[in-house]
């Protein structure tokens, strides 16, 4: 499965780069994260609860950052397994300076899924993953602002995350929205 997308962050390349290395911030962006910690240089371990439609369960795995070219590009490799199946992905992240203090993040990658996640969750995974990523970006946006503000004010940042419940509700809304925007549904509604 291919994943790709982009998002503009209100911050410099360096700020965005640092943001993505802050495990505390990342954990807030992905509700259901039970654990996210660095276990070596550029190697992180995470435990996350994942729900894709009828498939739910705990994933554990690691995330490795490589090919670093500060502050522009890096490669991210994830490898996770759990009761719902397995997930393996490699993606490239490109950060480009927009010239107005904001940074455009582009990502492209290839994800393999297996087990229940593939067999039962496949039909939903595209929408669910997009919803998760978009929600995560929204939270990261807020936390980037907070991070910069706290830095400027010389205080500890207070990061906000979404609750697992709110998060799931948005995923569900996006799922239904995805279905209702299909062309054949429009036709049916028209009838």
């Amino acid at each position: 499965m291919k994943v790709e997308g982009e998002h503009i962050f209100k911050g410099t390349q360096k700020q965005v780069w640092d943001l993505f290395r802050d495990t505390e911030v990342m954990a807030t962006a992905l509700p259901g994260t039970e654990k996210m910690e660095a276990v070596g240089e550029n190697v992180y371990e995470a435990v996350m609860n994942v729900r894709v439609g009828p498939v739910a369960g705990k994933f554990s795995g690691n995330l490795v950052i490589s090919n670093e070219n500060f502050p522009e590009t890096y490669t991210m490799t994830v490898d996770g397994r759990g009761k719902p199946g397995f997930l393996k992905g490699v993606g490239d992240v490109i950060l480009s300076d927009q010239g107005d203090g904001s940074t455009l993040m582009k990502y492209t990658g290839e994800v393999q899924i297996g087990g229940k996640l593939a067999g039962v969750g496949q039909r939903l995974i595209d929408t669910v993953s997009k919803s998760i990523i978009n929600q995560a970006f929204d939270i990261l946006d807020q936390n980037l602002v907070e991070r910069s503000a706290a830095e400027a004010e010389g205080r500890e940042a207070e990061y906000q995350g979404a609750s697992e419940k709110d998060y799931a509700a948005t995923v569900a809304k996006d799922l239904v929205g995805g279905v209702l925007s299909a062309p054949w549904v429009k036709k049916l509604k028209g009838k």
Binding site: M1, K83, G85, F86, K88, Q112, I113, G114, G115, K116, A118, G119, V120, Q122, R123, P183, W184, K187
Partner: protein, 782 residues
């Protein structure tokens, strides 16, 4: 021959139990002290197993044991070879690799079993299975039928230096010579993909080792209890009389419940013997999608040479068949494709090159149709294309090429799935074909209705496809028929029943011979304690092979009845009639004796049974045909396509079916309806989607869509009758027939409906999505 009971629409004797929830399925078996199994299966399709940690699973209260391959020691061995390669062909390559009870070393398809948990309840067993920790080293998966043969490809079986499972060539006449004479040579490439049998009942096993009796009873949702009994005895070091396999009511078979020797069938009886306890496992739907066999993935390169009048001069094909990770069932399925790629046509020159490959997908064994739908699809598609190129009526081209009625028995000079020469025993194709055209109103549709509807902007199309089905193959089946002192009849045969109405149809055959009511016959099928010679229910052979064995046994009992009654009534046998459970003197109704009384007299408590005779009114007989009985049929359909959604509306569906003598037309119609529904699934809804890692992406009935009541049309069935000449009943099989031509009918009708697009369909299954894609591609190219 005029029959009294055979050929009647008799209500089924098995129904009251099924309708009231009183019928025993494997899932209903409950024994004192029974334990439950759950499996840890690999999510990966191809991976090395580095380590297995069962310690956490063992700590869960209620868990009795966890077993891995290592625990089986010397008892671990792959399943038995079920069907060897054909011994009569030269230069056959056949690499046999059979499924294993528990994975050792390397996983070869997703769903293979790494460990078994035995616990006090299924819930606990499943909980514990989730606590098993296995470290895998994932490997690239072998998926593509062609790339897997390229040098350097990843190998499914490391001990083979290739993914080639088999290769063989069958040849008749001289294709290359015929090609030179041809006015038209067309060649096309076809992609045929996988589907599931998806019986409503998943598989299930209850294994019960009785230590004191030294006896193993296995209830198994199988189509073939006898081979399973024989195999289990051999593997477990038991005598055959120490093992009883019962296939009680089975909730649909459709092929995959064949004598596969599934991993679960091997491992659960073994554990029951270790623990001395009954163990139950009922497959869940997701397991069914990974661990139960599937079928139909093939790539064909086909060439057809024709005269300008439309005569087929020859067919050449080279095809690759995907057998999945193992090939326990040998070459049965692709041999069927080879046997059916000439359809019911007189083809003098035929060259068929078959390659079978291993991939990291679920194992392939026959699914209703078993290679035949692919063969029919190929030949019928080629004829449609040829007719277009030659500007001939596609129906005329078919009529022109049918094997004529005086050419039977027709020798195809190749071998079939049973390794016998492919001989079509009988047939009368043209009248049946004409009947189908008439039922569908072909001429009127083409001349009047279709132009009118097209003018209204409707996309309506017609498809008509004739097909043959080789049925009723050997080796043999047997039956025992016995008159009880009550006058009722008890009978048994080895084939199991999965909805085919055996208990009624065979009872009709017995009732016909012995002059009793159908309800007086109690028929046991699929219990090795009752009958233990035979193979099983497959290849549309129940009514033909077991049916004729039942007929032979009942006929022999009839002779015994007549002989004894003649003595007692002091009347010559030819003057006796059997009716209403009595033997009567033909014109003297008061001179009679009941079957029950005769049964008592035949089994005296004093005196001696005369030398050379046997006690009782009982007989066991066998039937083994030298070659099968070939059925014929035609399916036709008029459908409408919504050009925006690609959803279809089947306006009319007709079938003409020639399965020879019908024992029970109601049952035959039911078989056809069910076959068509599976065929419609195969044609337009059902496809197993594997990704490039051999992960199945639609492993639930919410994602893998089998036709529901609103997808099914009303089907009009007409029966033609060309009795099979080589069996006494004249029966031909019909169990698989309904499914065979449907994808070809769909392709023809869809092309016809979407004539604006000039579409050529060279694949199956289709779906609304896929059809949309094909049309988009067509538009993009033009």
């Amino acid at each position: 021959m005029t029959y009294k009971v055979i050929g009647k629409r008799v209500k089924r004797v098995e129904d009251p139990r099924l309708l009231t929830g009183q019928a025993l399925f494997v899932g209903d078996v409950s024994l004192p002290g029974m334990l439950y199994a759950a499996f840890f299966r690999s999510d990966y399709a191809h991976a090395k197993v580095i380590s297995i940690d069962i310690s956490q699973a063992l700590e869960i209260p209620g868990v009795v044991g966890v077993y891995t391959a290592e625990d089986m020691g010397d008892d671990w061995e792959p399943g038995p070879p079920l069907v060897s390669p054909p011994p009569t062909l030269e230069n056959v390559v056949f690499n046999s690799r059979r499924q294993v009870p528990l994975v050792k070393g390397k996983v070869k398809h997703a769903g293979e079993i790494i460990a078994v948990v035995i616990a006090e309840s299924r819930y606990i067993a499943e909980d514990a299975a989730e606590e098993i920790l296995v470290e895998f080293e994932p490997l690239p998966a072998v998926v593509d039928l062609e790339k897997c043969l390229e040098p350097g490809s990843v190998l499914v079986h490391d001990d083979l230096d290739t993914n080639l499972a088999a290769h063989l060539i069958q040849n008749k006449g001289d294709y290359e010579g015929a090609r030179k004479e041809a006015d038209l040579v067309i060649s096309r490439r076809f992609h045929l993909d996988r589907g599931a049998a998806a019986a409503l009942e998943n598989r299930g096993i209850v294994a019960d080792w009785d230590e004191k009796n030294q006896h193993l009873t296995v209830w198994d949702a199988t189509q073939s209890p006898i081979p399973i009994r024989n195999g289990l005895a051999a593997r477990l070091g038991l005598r055959t009389h120490q093992v009883r396999v019962v296939a009680p009511f089975v909730g649909g078979g459709f092929g995959p419940k064949i004598m596969m020797f599934y991993a679960e069938e091997m491992v659960l009886p073994w554990i029951s013997m270790k623990l001395g306890k009954p163990i139950k496992w009922i497959e869940d739907r997701r397991e069914n999608f990974y661990a139960t066999t599937q079928e139909r993935e093939q790539i064909h390169d086909v060439e057809m040479a024709l005269s300008k009048e439309g005569h087929i001069l020859g067919i050449k094909q080279k095809f690759i068949h995907d057998t999945g990770a193992f090939n326990p069932y040998g070459l049965t399925t692709p041999l069927n494709t080879q046997s059916h790629s000439m359809g019911g046509y007189d083809v003098q020159n035929y060259y068929s090159d078959l390659t079978v490959v291993f991939t990291n997908k679920t194992i392939v064994t026959p699914v209703r149709g078993a290679g035949r739908p692919q063969g029919i699809y190929i030949v019928e598609r080629m004829l449609d294309i040829a007719a277009r190129e030659l500007e001939l009526d596609p129906m005329e081209v078919r009529r022109l090429n049918f094997i004529p009625p005086d050419a039977f028995p027709y020798d195809h000079e190749i071998i079939d799935q049973a390794f016998a020469t492919l001989i079509f025993d009988s047939g009368n194709y043209e009248p049946a074909f004409d009947k189908a055209l008439e039922m569908l109103g072909y001429e009127d549709f083409i001349k009047n209705e279709q132009p009118r509807l097209r003018a209204e902007g409707k996309y309506v199309g017609i498809g008509i496809v004739p097909f043959v089905e080789t049925t009723g193959v050997g080796p043999y089946e047997g039956a025992r028929v016995s008159v009880e002192p009550s006058g009722k009849i008890s009978a048994a045969t080895g084939v199991g029943t999965q909805g085919q109405s055996h208990m009624t149809a065979f009872a009709q055959v017995i009732a016909e011979q012995l002059g009793v009511e159908v309800s007086d016959v109690s028929m046991v099928t699929g219990d090795t304690a009752e009958f233990h010679w035979g193979t099983g229910t497959f290849a549309s052979r129940g009514a033909v092979v077991a049916g004729n064995a039942v007929n032979a046994a009942a006929g022999d009992v009839r002779l015994k009845v007549l002989k004894l009654a003649s003595k007692i009534l002091e009347t010559p046998e030819e003057e006796l009639v059997l009716e209403d459970g009595m033997v009567r003197v033909a014109d003297k109704p008061d001179q009679s004796i009941s079957l029950g009384e005769l049964a008592l007299l035949a089994n005296p408590l004093r005196g001696a049974v005369e030398p050379g005779t046997e006690p009782g009114l009982e007989s066991t007989k066998y039937f083994g045909p030298a070659f099968g009985a070939t059925a014929f049929g035609v399916h036709g359909m008029i459908l409408e396509v919504d050009p925006e959604t690609m959803m279809i509306n089947i306006r009319k569906y007709i079938t003409v079916e020639d399965c020879g003598t019908m024992i029970n037309p109601l049952v035959v119609e039911g078989q056809i309806h069910g076959g068509v529904s599976m065929g419609i699934g195969n044609a337009y809804y059902e496809k197993l989607h594997y990704d490039e890692n051999a992960q199945l992406l639609n492993a639930s009935l919410a994602d893998y869509l089998i036709p529901g009541s609103t997808e099914m049309p009303h089907i009009e069935v007409h029966h033609a009758n060309t009795p099979a000449p080589n069996n006494e009943l004249g029966t031909k099989g019909v169990g698989e027939a309904g499914a065979i031509p449907v994808p070809a009918v769909f392709a023809q009708a869809l092309e016809n409906a979407l004539h604006d697009y000039d579409l050529e369909i060279l694949e199956t299954p289709l779906s609304p999505n896929r059809l949309y894609e094909l049309l988009q591609k067509k538009e993009d190219n033009s």
